[in-house]
């Protein structure tokens, strides 16, 4: 369903002190694939390149080399059809605060080519699953970050995408809300969607992911089911893999 082959991405940043340009290799020859009905956990410490990878899949960034295919469509050749297959949740929890969730979902439904009434109905269904229905007609100005996150999740899933890309969906959420989100991810999986979540929360990965890819310094270190990963690195928890990678 989602296929990355030999993807590279580097950034040029300026060192303000030495005034020299530096090259940051955010992603280095990354290859993996995620099948339908599978939750793939992209695991890595801060600055590992998780968000960059996900942004490239969604088409917000372009890879320097390599290819990304969604349902056998190349994201660079057919950006719009690819984006319509993907539901993306970004890390920064931000919504159009002047709207109510209902208004936001209606208009985003239209952006995705849905009939506004269909969009509204589907959006309300999602809000119900996320336990936010009572807030459907309240302006989002005063929403807590968890409430905003729920609205963003509903927005991402509105158009029934076959691929779901969530960048740290549970960061900043309390245990109840986090559980709601994880349950939703399981439902999405059972509906036959390909799901990629990035995180640095190990327990979550061990609980819901079918396979994990550990990304460190832009490179993928292993791509296997969590249990197999523990075995391969001869550790008891995935956290220990991080420490092993950090001290080679």
């Amino acid at each position: 369903m989602i296929q990355l082959s030999d993807v590279n991405k580097a950034f040029r940043v300026k060192d303000r002190k030495t005034r020299a340009w530096k090259r940051i290799e955010a992603v280095k020859s990354l290859s993996f694939q995620v099948r339908a009905g599978e939750i793939y956990g992209l695991l890595g410490p801060n600055g590992a390149g998780k968000s960059t990878t996900l942004r490239m899949i969604v088409g917000l960034m372009k890879p320097d080399s390599g290819s990304i295919r969604i349902c056998d469509l190349d994201t660079q050749e057919k950006p719009e059809p690819c984006r319509s297959l993907v539901g993306y949740l970004s890390t920064d929890i931000s919504v159009y605060t002047r709207f109510t969730p209902r208004e936001l979902l209606r208009i985003f439904g239209e952006f995705q080519g849905l009939d506004p009434r269909v969009a509204e109905r589907r959006g309300m269904g999602l809000l119900e699953k996320l336990q936010l229905k009572d807030f459907a007609d309240i302006r989002m100005e005063g929403f807590s970050s968890g409430q905003k996150q729920k609205v963003s999740i509903a927005r991402a899933l509105l158009h029934d995408p076959v691929a779901v890309i969530f960048d740290e969906p549970t960061t900043g959420l309390d245990v109840f809300t986090a559980k709601t989100v994880l349950d939703l991810l399981r439902i999405l999986k059972s509906e036959g969607r390909a799901v990629i979540v990035s995180t640095h929360l190990m327990p979550m990965v061990e609980e819901i992911c079918d396979r994990v890819g550990i990304i460190f310094g832009g490179e993928l270190h292993g791509d296997a089911p969590p249990a197999e990963m523990l075995e391969r690195w001869k550790v008891h928890s995935l956290e220990e893999v991080f420490f092993k990678l950090a001290v080679p």
């Binding site: 940043v13 993907v86 993306y88 970004s90 159009y96 208004e103 952006f111 080519g113």
Partner: protein, 405 residues
């Protein structure tokens, strides 16, 4: 195309949710002009008309009573008093006196002998009221002299015409409406441009750098809408806001001007009736249409510039500061285009932005040249298309989407 309209709709919807912004963008400009115009008109009228409607306070010493009775015969112009104040200068400053006159004591005898007599006058030239009093006195004495000359000529059996071999008849053909048109034409395009730019700028920043700053841009770009349609939607929205700002200002300005002119017309002296008739002729549908046609590419140029800067900027504050030079340029060019005589400089029709205000200025002054209007139109349109193209390309660059990098 559909995406463009959807984005535009979203922006307008978002705007409609913010009452305060709506008030400041749409209601305030409508309220502002009548107030400003009214204050300006009444201030301008007050000073001069009030002075002219009042008699000049004159203090006169005239022992032989030649001039004094003559001045006193017209109480509308002169309010005479005897005796000399202790401090003349202070009296002028305190506005208790406008003019002090002293007619020489032997004036009566001199008149009989047909010799000139002297009148000494003290005034404060820095006081307009004092100047006016002098002018009035000169006119009065001239009239008095004329009477005396006429009497003397009569005694000799000749008429007054003997000293007036010729007579000059002047007729002012300057058309009061045209003068007003020229005045309006010189500052109207400037005000409109400024209003258009600042209206577009304020809302343009909100939907570009603002979206980036608030973190909502990514969710928009992750939808299946093509980037070009997102950009065009925003472009049309900003353009509309600029145009709405210009039209609102124009309307409000027109209505307030009409009100002020109406008030002036109530005073019989004003040729305002004629002026407003000419104003109506000047603002003929054809002229207004040409104005509008010139403003469309200009609006597009402003819009694409704002869009470009707005997307390029990382924050709204940065967008604001990077657009300031643009605003400053318009203010400078506008002020330049208002300068008298500027329309005769040969190269100006080729300076962008300036040529539009120049063309409109000439249009209102009824000196327009079709060729210059065409140059202004095509030059602005060309620049606008180029700028739009650059701006639309920008959103495809990821450095424009993400704050860092």
């Amino acid at each position: 195309m559909k995406g463009t309209l959807l984005i535009c709709k979203k922006e307008f919807l978002e705007l409609s949710k913010d009452r305060r912004t709506l008030f400041f963008s749409f209601v305030l400009p409508i309220l502002l002009y009548p107030v400003v115009f009214f204050i300006m008109a009444s201030l301008g009228r007050n000073d001069q008309t009030q002075r002219e409607g009042q008699p000049s306070r004159v203090q006169i010493v005239d022992p032989s009573q030649i001039v004094e009775p003559w001045l006193k015969s017209d109480p509308k112009l002169f309010e005479c008093s005897d005796g000399r104040p202790a401090n003349l200068q202070q009296a002028f400053k305190d506005h208790t006196l406008d003019l002090a006159i002293e007619v020489e004591a032997s004036a009566g005898a001199r008149v009989k002998r047909q010799e000139p007599y002297r009148i000494r006058v003290w005034l404060d030239e820095s006081e307009p009221a004092s100047e006016l009093a002098l002018q009035r006195m000169r006119d009065a004495v001239k009239e008095l002299d004329k009477r005396q000359v006429s009497e003397r000529l009569g005694a000799l059996g000749a008429s007054l015409q003997i000293i007036e071999p010729s007579r000059i008849l002047t007729e002012n053909v300057a058309d009061p409406g045209l003068a007003l048109g020229k005045l309006l034409g010189s500052f109207l395009p400037y005000i409109l441009m400024l209003m258009m730019f600042q209206g577009a700028m304020q809302h343009g920043i909100y939907v570009t750098a603002g979206e980036k700053e608030r973190g909502t841009l990514q969710s928009l770009l992750a939808t299946s809408l093509p980037r070009s349609q997102i950009i065009w939607g925003k472009l049309i929205y900003i353009f509309c806001m600029g145009l709405i700002a210009a039209v609102l200002n124009l309307l409000s300005m027109g209505i307030s001007l009409g009100l002020v002119l109406g008030r002036v017309a109530e005073h019989p002296a004003g040729s305002a009736g004629l002026a407003s008739a000419h104003l109506a002729a000047m603002t003929s549908p054809v002229n207004l249409l040409i104005c509008f046609l010139l403003f469309v590419p200009l609006g597009l140029l402003f819009t694409s510039f704002i869009l470009f800067m707005g997307i390029r900027a990382k924050t709204t504050a940065e967008a604001g500061t990077s657009l300031m030079p643009g605003l400053f340029l318009i203010i400078t060019l506008g002020a330049f285009s208002m300068a008298p005589g500027i329309e005769r400089m040969p190269l100006l029709p080729y300076v962008p932005v300036l040529n539009v205000s120049l063309a409109i200025r000439k249009l209102f002054g009824q000196q327009s040249s079709f060729f210059e209007i065409l140059i202004a139109f095509f030059m602005t349109a060309g620049l606008a298309i180029l700028m739009t193209w650059i701006a639309t390309r920008l959103l495809d660059r990821e450095s424009a989407i993400f704050k860092q990098g």
